[in-house]
Amino acid sequence: MFGSNGRDDGAEKWEAQLRKGCLEMAVLAVLHSGRSYGLEILRALENRSNLVLSEGTIYPILNRLRLDGFVESEWVESESGHPRKYYSLTRQGRERATGMAELWLEFVGGLSGLVEPLAATKKGRSGQ
């Protein structure tokens, strides 16, 4: 079965699951560099990681992270005229973010050695 973009549905599902699995880490990583609000986090994810989210996805994730004690929130008056809800990492969230980053790099580093030859083979074929 192939999707509208010519890729098979299995690969699309896998990619969707992969993105979903990374979301929490990506949001924590954005907040690691300073407090931010929902729309700003969405833009940071798009600009810094090409992770494009549906806009309705980010707020439940932020709410879940807050309930888990990884982030805290506060309403702050802004120059735009309406208050924004800013999120920042708690100490627990900071530890979680660094722990996840270490695990991720270790995981990606390990797998890259395995899959890089496959990508090289594909490039070689398309170059011929």
């Binding site: 806009e55 309705g56 709410n63 309930l67 888990d68 735009s80 309406h82 809800k85």
Partner: protein
Amino acid sequence: MTTQDPLEGYVIRLRSALRGMTVAEREDICEEIRTHVRERVAGSGLTAGETLAKLGPAEELAHAYSSGALVRRARISFSPWLILRAAYAWAMTGVHGIAAFMTALVGYVLGLAFMLCALLKPIFPRRNRALDRSRNLELRLPARLPARHPRSSRAMVHPGCARAGHPVLRRDNRGHARVAAQVQALAEGRDAPGRNASHIRSYCFLTAAGFGFGSARGGAAGVQNDGAILTISAGMELSSGATRLSVAYTPSMISLDARR
């Protein structure tokens, strides 16, 4: 209530669909969504309708909030109602959720039925037949009790067992074997040596109740961990002692009653 403003219409739908949270939490979420839409409209030139379309249907957004909140509350709760609601919400998302929900539901029904038997036994010592509709599925305390134990002591023993029996059995493997031998003796029509027979029968029911509650908690643990494999392992772990006893005892109790 209707409104011409698409944003307010969306917020009303969102608010009414948000479940499992306080009024303050709901209002906080609604305000954040309002702010998001206003900022998007002001910054991108999109209309409110287009921005709301990017957020998705209000009910879906509410579901994303509510299911997370319910599961989160169920994690730290022992409330069967909350756990069942969380399991039901999960059941709506796929086959793993359905399995967890059914496990929790069956577990709680069994657990409550057996616990009811144990609690009713002191009140109706000779007529405790909560599940006595069919001989094939008879899961009752035996109607006849040894005469040598005064009723007052039985009345005290049962509620005590209800509190203490299950954890004791789960911790003590030698206790399992001892009680199993005594139940076997009862099943064969012999008097169980050295222990109050009604006490042992209470243990049997508590074991079965433990199995029911263990299954339910297993289902709940599955909800907590979002995985069917974990559901099974947690169910096994939580009712480990009880599971073995249930398997061993229940047929004995049925055969004991069937003979009478």
